[in-house]
């Protein structure tokens, strides 16, 4: 069966520090991969998606970037965090277009 791992679960980082959140998927190959951000009590904002290694599409211009160095690995990064980067970050995968997505457990990022 397929599983998705996302870490860390919580993270407190100072303003101006770098960020690296990692997500890996097991049990499937060539998944579509997604990074979402969820503000407190709010909906899901799609940040990045990827259909293959090295292929990244950005939905929202911002202080963040994403990379897919391996088929089942998706990384969210920032060189210098802003206070506004605080939020709940969710990684997800799907088997292709027109299907459901499966989410990781999320990372609660607090920038102080």
């Amino acid at each position: 069966s397929q599983t998705i791992h996302q870490w860390p679960a919580t993270l407190v980082q100072p303003v101006g520090s770098p960020l690296s959140l990692e997500c890996t998927v097991e049990g499937t190959s060539n998944p579509n991969l997604y990074w979402y951000r969820q503000a407190a009590g709010r909906g899901l904002q799609l940040l990045f998606y990827s259909v293959g290694i090295g292929q990244i599409s950005s939905e929202v211009p911002q202080n963040l970037s994403a990379s897919r160095p391996q088929d089942r690995q998706f990384i969210l990064s920032s060189k210098k965090l802003l206070l506004s980067d605080s939020g709940f970050y969710l990684c997800a995968w799907s088997a292709g277009t027109g299907t459901e997505a499966f989410f990781g457990q999320g990372t609660r990022l607090t920038v102080v």
């Binding site: 799609l46 997800a92 277009t97 027109g98």
Partner: protein, 114 residues
């Protein structure tokens, strides 16, 4: 065209009652409609999904009703329990669409009072 409108934003239901959450869409190309359940501090989990070739799908206490002509679909939770208290998201996508995946509603915060 890509928007999915979800209502209500929040809902309080007594234990044993029926919880109803509604969604409406505009893009007639949408052909898959999943619902997600999210508990605080956790990622959304797929709850139930429907395709437009059927008007209703039931799994246990959860039922999706789908009205293709009205471009609306709804989630019904029968015999609502305190453990159902969570945020629910409707979503939509289409097989011929881009890889940007699901279009989500803004969520409904459901509270079941004991």
């Amino acid at each position: 065209q890509q928007q999915v409108k979800q209502s209500p934003q929040s809902l309080i239901v007594q234990k044993g009652g029926i919880s109803i959450i509604n969604c409406a869409y505009e893009n007639t190309a949408f052909d898959y409609f999943p619902w997600y359940q999210q508990f605080p501090g956790k990622g959304p989990a797929l709850l139930i999904a429907i395709r437009p070739d059927v008007s209703e799908k039931k799994e246990g206490r959860f039922t999706i009703s789908f009205n293709k002509s009205a471009k609306q679909f709804s989630l019904h939770i029968m015999d609502s329990q305190p453990g159902d208290s969570a945020t629910y998201f409707c979503a939509a996508t289409n097989s011929g669409g881009g890889a940007d995946g699901l279009t989500f509603g803004k969520g409904t915060h459901l509270i079941i009072q004991p």
